[in-house]
């Protein structure tokens, strides 16, 4: 598919500031010598979110976080710092937790993404969601979806015997202890300071799993 006049005018429409137009000029010149795909500032993608196939056509700049919140209206995933420092945007991709703010949506073609909405429903809570409620593992709740997604995938990391900074023996099986959980959850910040209750909630779920 060669870039059509239609695509170019749509791109021009999308771009308003003079600075941005200047940047496009450079990119366009370089891309003119390269292959067709490189001309596009938007990309179509298909992925699975909470077991549902989704198709999007997004600006290449769209982070996975913004695709989830602004395009798919799955606003359970939160934007805290938008720089990978707070963990509020944590989602699970193919079983692994990541910061959805530090990855582009278009890099997830074909991936299976689980957000807080996919873990459980209000009338059918995931055990981790139920444990957070039971142990009061939050105050304002803003970091909570990220805490819960992170903790679910974190327990899977321990079960997969992935070591952490506080693991004593690299060649033994990793134990589920409060110290291990605290270290492994350090990428999720809670400004309200509900940490001790969060650890209690996770310990309970880990206990019932073992």
């Amino acid at each position: 598919m060669h870039p059509t006049q239609l695509e170019i005018s749509r791109r021009d429409l999308l771009i308003s500031s003079a600075a941005t137009v200047a940047a496009i000029g450079i990119a366009g010149g370089a891309a003119a010598q390269a292959s067709r795909n490189e001309m596009a500032y938007t990309t179509k993608l298909t992925f699975t979110v909470n077991e549902e196939g989704r198709e999007l056509d997004v600006d290449n700049r769209t982070t996975l976080l913004d695709a989830l919140r602004e395009h798919l209206h799955l606003t359970g995933t939160k934007k805290g710092c938008d720089h990978g420092q707070c963990g509020a945007c944590t989602v699970i991709i193919d079983g692994r937790r990541i910061n959805s703010c530090l990855t582009l949506a278009i890099m997830h073609e074909g991936d299976a993404i689980t957000t807080i909405e996919g873990l459980g429903k209000p009338d059918d809570l995931h055990p981790m969601q139920a444990a957070f409620v039971k142990h009061d593992g939050f105050q304002c709740g803003y970091c909570t979806p990220g805490q819960i997604c992170s903790s679910v995938a974190m327990l899977a990391e321990i079960q997969a015997n992935i070591p952490s900074h506080v693991t004593d023996n690299l060649n033994a099986e990793v134990a589920i202890t409060p110290v291990e959980i605290r270290e492994r959850m350090s990428g999720n910040i809670c400004r309200c300071g509900a940490y001790s209750n969060i650890v209690d909630a996770i310990i309970e779920v880990a206990g019932t799993k073992a």
């Binding site: 370089a30 390269a34 001309m39 700049r61 990978g84 944590t90 582009l104 952490s164 270290e183």
Partner: protein, 316 residues
């Protein structure tokens, strides 16, 4: 973020060729550092080459008895690899001392090596910074410089390299394998990969434009005790003020590299030979040309004390 075009590379050679012919292009792997910098418009690539589909995510034994680590192996997978844990424990320890679980799941081996400094003035686009804007000046010199480098610095830049993993790789004498834009391949000892800032702090490695790291090679295991000790302002998820990576043999000989104090992982081979003589003798050689800003003078003592703790732990 500035607009950019995007492609998924289909081969290593094609990726290197595109990158070498387009100075506005950048490789993207995990993206955890690059996207952060693109949001702040510190990095402004007009074209991204996604290198995630090149099959560079394997860890394999080499015929020399070492290990070849694919450039795209995630930090989590490298730290968790059974052979790495058993034979190169220092590398596992350094990896899990860095970043958060979420970031380690995305961050790659080559990306970790090529991550940029976390100097706050590099990140603050309202401030002069020779690394971000060559010739504009260094705000850290005369500014808030508690976290900055104490050795190998220049009048243009006192930034540190933030990687923990690189300190372990330097201790282990890893080799970087790369492909250039013309398709030729070369090996670079880790000691030579990162540059000191000099007059051109914006040039951080010896890689040529478009040159693409494909793997990191580890030589045969060294045996001995593998210890990585990281000192930071909070117990987890923070960059090092000082970190010490060491492999120490039962007779007290060994090797050591230090993080958090220079523009590259800092190792002085002549200091290794002082290890049996203790932390003071070793750090005296390691930091012979140290130059503090005053605010970061504590790092010079901290290296000696952290190394002392590492040597004690190796005996214990």
């Amino acid at each position: 973020m500035r607009p950019f075009t995007y492609e998924r590379a289909s081969s290593i050679e094609a990726a290197a060729k595109v990158a070498a012919s387009n100075s506005q292009a950048k490789f993207i792997a995990g993206g955890t550092n690059l996207l952060d910098l693109m949001k702040l418009e510190i990095e402004t690539p007009a074209h991204l080459i996604d290198v995630n589909d090149l099959g560079l995510d394997k860890i394999e034994a080499t015929s020399e008895g070492g290990l070849r680590i694919g450039a795209l192996v995630r930090n989590t997978d490298l730290a968790a690899d059974e052979t790495v844990r058993r034979d190169y424990g220092l590398l596992s320890r350094a990896l899990v001392a860095g970043a958060s679980g979420q970031l380690r799941n995305k961050a790659t081996t080559a990306g970790n090596l090529l991550q940029r400094t976390r100097c706050p003035y590099f990140y603050d686009t309202n401030q002069p910074c020779n690394k971000r804007q060559p010739g504009s000046g260094c705000s850290a010199i005369g500014g808030f410089s508690r976290q900055h480098a104490v050795i190998g610095t220049s009048d243009a830049c006192i930034a540190t390299h933030p990687s923990d993993m690189a300190v372990a790789l330097r201790t282990l004498d890893a080799t970087i394998e790369s492909v250039k834009g013309d398709g030729s391949r070369r090996s670079i000892p880790i000691a030579d990969l990162h540059r000191l800032p000099g007059d051109t702090p914006e040039i951080e490695t010896v890689l040529e434009p478009g040159e693409f790291i494909t793997a990191v090679l580890l030589p045969r295991p060294l045996g001995g005790k593998h210890i990585y000790r990281k000192v930071r302002d909070r117990a987890s998820y923070a960059f090092a003020l000082v970190s010490v990576g060491a492999v120490i043999q039962p007779d007290g000989t060994g090797r050591v590299a230090v993080g958090g104090i220079a523009h590259k992982p800092w190792r002085v081979e002549a200091a290794d030979t002082e290890l049996p003589n203790g932390a003071r003798a070793t750090s005296r050689v390691l930091l012979a040309d140290a130059r503090s800003t005053g605010q970061n003078r504590f790092k010079i003592d901290l290296v000696e004390r952290t190394l002392g703790a590492v040597i004690a732990a190796a005996k214990g």
